[in-house]
């Protein structure tokens, strides 16, 4: 069975380490914050200028001047810092973020990522995503394996305008966890109940399948 959004978030959360500064994109990545293991400290960076993002506010705490990069009202944890957008992206571009998790429309075997526009149809804008993919050593892309009309989003070559070139090494979809090495997707884990054959069929880019592909675990 394809993973739920929550399962995807839980799987990504396994990549966290104690003391990591982490930037979580909008959508599924945001959910990762709900699955930080007990006893582990992780500090969330929000690129509008907040390091140490906390939970959503209570009605009493609600403050229009306190939002995250998704424009959601949030709180700050004790020990948080707040700064300008230039400082925020100095941090990001300078490689100080330990892990970045973000969504995408497409990823290809060269580690290219497309996530900000569909020509003629949709232009969200890149926001901070181009800086995030350029600045981070350690990125996980989370997305569904296929588009709504069934097209693979793991491609030999991205068809949409790129967000970043050659910067993605790890992809978690609702079907599999894959690493991009030397021009191919390497299948590392499959979602529980999903067959290697299904993944192979739905992966348009070159796929390397090892002899044994374990089922994903979530803890």
């Amino acid at each position: 069975m394809a993973l739920t959004r929550e399962q995807m978030a839980r799987r990504v959360a396994l990549e966290l380490q104690d003391g990591f500064y982490v930037n979580l994109g909008i959508g599924i990545p945001t959910l990762v914050a709900n699955y930080i293991p007990d006893g582990m400290q992780v500090m969330l960076q929000s690129e509008n200028g907040l390091l140490g993002m906390g939970r959503f506010p209570t009605e009493d705490e609600l403050d229009a001047d306190m939002i995250n990069a998704g424009k959601q009202t949030v709180t700050a944890v004790p020990g948080a810092s707040i700064f300008s957008s230039a400082e925020s992206f100095a941090m990001i571009r300078g490689g100080h973020i330990d892990l970045t998790v973000l969504g995408a429309f497409e990823v290809d075997v060269q580690g290219n990522i497309a996530s900000w526009m569909v020509p003629g149809k949709l232009i969200k804008g890149m926001g901070g995503s181009m800086d995030l993919v350029a600045g981070a050593e350690n990125i996980i892309v989370t997305m569904t394996h296929c588009s709504k009309d069934g097209q693979s989003k793991l491609l030999p070559e991205c068809t949409l305008p790129l967000t970043g070139a050659g910067c993605i090494r790890r992809v978690l979809t609702d079907l599999a966890y894959l690493e991009i090495i030397d021009g191919a997707f390497h299948l590392k884990e499959r979602a529980p109940g999903v067959t290697v054959e299904e993944i192979a069929e739905k992966t348009a880019g070159k796929l390397v399948i090892p002899d044994h592909v374990p089922e994903m675990s979530f803890a």
Partner: protein, 232 residues
């Protein structure tokens, strides 16, 4: 106005000299920390053919969105269109010229404009459409794009507290692009929630030193929330 007293009496005076075709840099991220009253005053003024530099362009009917509604903007330099339907439609229809710029590059371009750095290299956007037509260079084995500074004829900025010398402190994440915009305007106008006497703000805690601020005024703010998310 004498010496360093930057206070002006009205929004009209704050925008004196703003003309059709000028470039306006605006602070704010989403609807957070936007110079609401100055935006409304630009609308009331009816200034047209503006180039607006801002991370995004408000929403339909609020923030910079009201200038889109009135077709006062010719060109936008921004990182995010998002859910702003009018922005997206005017852009796709070709009515509005849009220079999409990565958020960090946009912030750095404003800072560079204020800091006398005419251009800088960044890895951001290399190999993507935003690098098309731009100079690239390999430095220490990595590819970078050359990006140029941005300056504006006006910068419009939203602060929290200021003294009348124009030293500004921002509140929480309403800081965002505001201190950068403030450095990059030939005329920088700041609206705040409270103006205090010089000496009341701790010198080491000033976010925008008064040297960047030309005009200052106090306003009231609606502070509309885009995504009202609450804990269960």
């Amino acid at each position: 106005m004498a010496g360093f007293d930057k206070r002006v009496a009205s929004l009209e005076e704050a925008l004196d000299g703003l003309e059709d075709g000028m470039t306006v840099i605006a602070g704010g991220f989403g609807l957070c920390g936007i110079p609401e009253n100055l935006i409304q005053a630009i609308r009331d003024r009816g200034t047209r053919d503006l180039t607006v530099v801002s991370n995004n362009c408000g929403v339909d009917g609020f923030g910079l969105g009201v200038l889109l509604e009135d077709r006062q903007i010719r060109k936008i330099i921004a990182s995010y269109v998002g859910e702003n339907a009018m922005f997206e439609r005017q852009m796709l229809d070709g009515e509005l010229e849009v220079e999409l710029t990565p958020q960090g590059t946009l912030a750095e371009k404003m800072r560079a404009g204020g800091a006398g750095i005419p251009a800088f290299y960044t890895a951001t956007g290399y190999g993507t459409p935003i690098a098309e037509g731009k100079e690239t260079r390999v430095i220490d084995g990595r590819d970078y794009v050359l990006e140029h500074a941005i300056r504006g004829d006006f910068a419009i900025v939203k602060g929290w507290k200021a003294d009348w010398y124009g030293n500004v402190i921002y509140r929480h994440t309403a800081q965002n692009f505001n201190p950068l915009a403030a450095t990059a305007g030939r005329i920088t106008v700041v609206e705040v929630e409270e103006i205090v006497a010089p000496g009341e703000l701790p010198p080491s805690q000033i976010h925008t030193p008064g040297i960047y601020v030309d005009r200052l005024l106090c306003g009231t703010f609606e502070k509309r929330i885009e995504q009202r998310t609450l804990s269960a």
